[in-house]
């Protein structure tokens, strides 16, 4: 149906694609540690060796865990399996709240405690007007 040249070009392109996909897959696989933006408290618990590198921990701010003193703010990040305590000095983003997603960047003191240098609020995929949210809560 097609000429020999067309077949050759199809073969050439498919091998280019195959090799590049494989290469990229392997690169991403080996870099997985760095491709993920943050680790969950459960993943932190399973770290065998603690080092001095900066790390990001993400999860949900545990309900009722935020403690603010004059400058310092303490809270707990949970993934509903494990928890990690975070302390932070500075201003938190507007969306930072209990029960909402958060990413804390800083240094691990031990497997249960993180001294954060930066707090980022995570927004989830839910968008709705305030009235709808209220109606949902009332139910």
């Amino acid at each position: 149906m097609y000429g020999k040249k067309v077949k050759l070009r199809i073969l050439f392109l498919s091998s280019v694609i195959l090799i590049s996909v494989l290469t990229i897959f392997l690169i991403l696989k080996s870099l997985e540690e760095n491709v993920v933006y943050f680790k969950s408290p459960t993943e932190i618990k399973s770290i065998t060796e603690l080092d001095d590198k900066k790390i990001r921990v993400g999860g949900v701010v545990k309900e009722g865990s935020i403690l603010t003193s004059s400058k310092k703010i303490n809270f707990i990040i949970t993934d509903y399996k494990n928890e990690i305590n975070v302390s932070f000095i500075g201003a938190v983003p507007n969306l930072f709240a209990e029960g909402k997603g958060v990413v804390a960047e800083g240094f691990l003191k031990d497997r249960n405690f993180l001294t954060a240098e930066k707090i980022l609020a995570k927004h989830d995929e839910n968008y709705m007007p305030p009235e709808v949210k209220k109606a949902l809560e009332d139910n």
Binding site: Y2, V6, R9, I10, L13, V16, I17, S20, V21, I24, L28, E32, V35, V36, Y37, F38, K39, S40, G58, V92, P93, N94, L95, F96, K100, V103, K118, I119, L120, A121, K122, H123, D124, E125, N126, Y127, M128, P129, P130, E131, V132, K133, K134
Partner: protein
């Protein structure tokens, strides 16, 4: 193969189409902007900054969509040596690039008040930045390489390689933990975005798609005229 794509017949349509497309674009954009800026409600948590999404999300969709089309057409362009495919791809690229930049910039503007940072090297944002680089190289290659056939081959290969990035962009929020939120609109599940916010989103997407179509038609007609008047090709 593809003999039904007769360029002179196509040109007779594409040369008349822009004014109609422009007319529809203005109407859809007008309704879309009123929906997005006035009629749609504010969000329960991020308040009025949700309105940035009505520019950000459609731009991202359009830029990813256009690159997918360019990539697929590039296959046809290399395998079947179809000249029309490469002209279509070449004419599509500029609006894709512009919408990619708009998506990155509006995302950044939204990220500062919501996340607390302008930029994060998470996989969604990084892969979109890589797409932007692919667009840049693609557009530049068409400009820099003087030999026509060579330019066609090089740009097609760039687009085909860039095509691998498209599923990475799409699934980055599912494969890896990211700061960027996962998709609100999924094919098989209910969308997690309220219908009053979905309407402006769809309208703005339609408006941006029409704008891309308009720019594409103008670029395409220019390319056609260049081919007809050989020598006008390079200034």
């Amino acid at each position: 193969m593809f003999s039904f794509i007769d360029s002179s017949k196509i040109f007779s349509i594409t040369s008349k189409a822009p004014k109609y497309v422009f007319f529809i674009f203005i109407i859809v954009l007008f309704i879309g902007l009123i929906e997005a800026l006035v009629l749609s409600p504010k969000d329960y948590i991020q308040s009025h900054s949700v309105r940035i999404m009505y520019v950000h999300v459609p731009s991202a969709w359009i830029s990813v969509g256009i690159f997918s089309i360019i990539g697929i057409l590039s296959f046809g362009s290399i395998i079947f040596k179809n000249k029309n495919f490469s002209i279509i791809s070449k004419s599509l690229a500029p609006s894709g690039l512009v919408f990619n930049i708009i998506a990155l910039v509006t995302g950044s503007i939204w990220g500062k008040p919501t996340w607390g940072t302008w930029w994060a090297w998470d996989s969604r944002i990084t892969s979109m930045a890589i797409l932007c680089l692919f667009y840049l190289i693609y557009v530049l290659a068409w400009r820099i390489i003087e030999d026509k056939n060579r330019a066609n081959q090089v740009t097609s290969l760039i687009a085909i390689l860039g095509l691998i990035n498209i599923p990475i962009i799409k699934f980055s929020v599912e494969w890896w933990s990211t700061l960027h939120q996962p998709s609100s609109i999924k094919l098989l599940e209910d969308s997690t975005i309220h219908s009053s916010m979905l309407i402006p989103l769809i309208l703005m997407t339609a408006a941006f798609a029409l704008f891309s179509l308009l720019i594409f038609l103008m670029k395409y007609n220019t390319e056609m005229i260049k081919i007809k008047n050989k020598g006008l090709d390079r200034l």
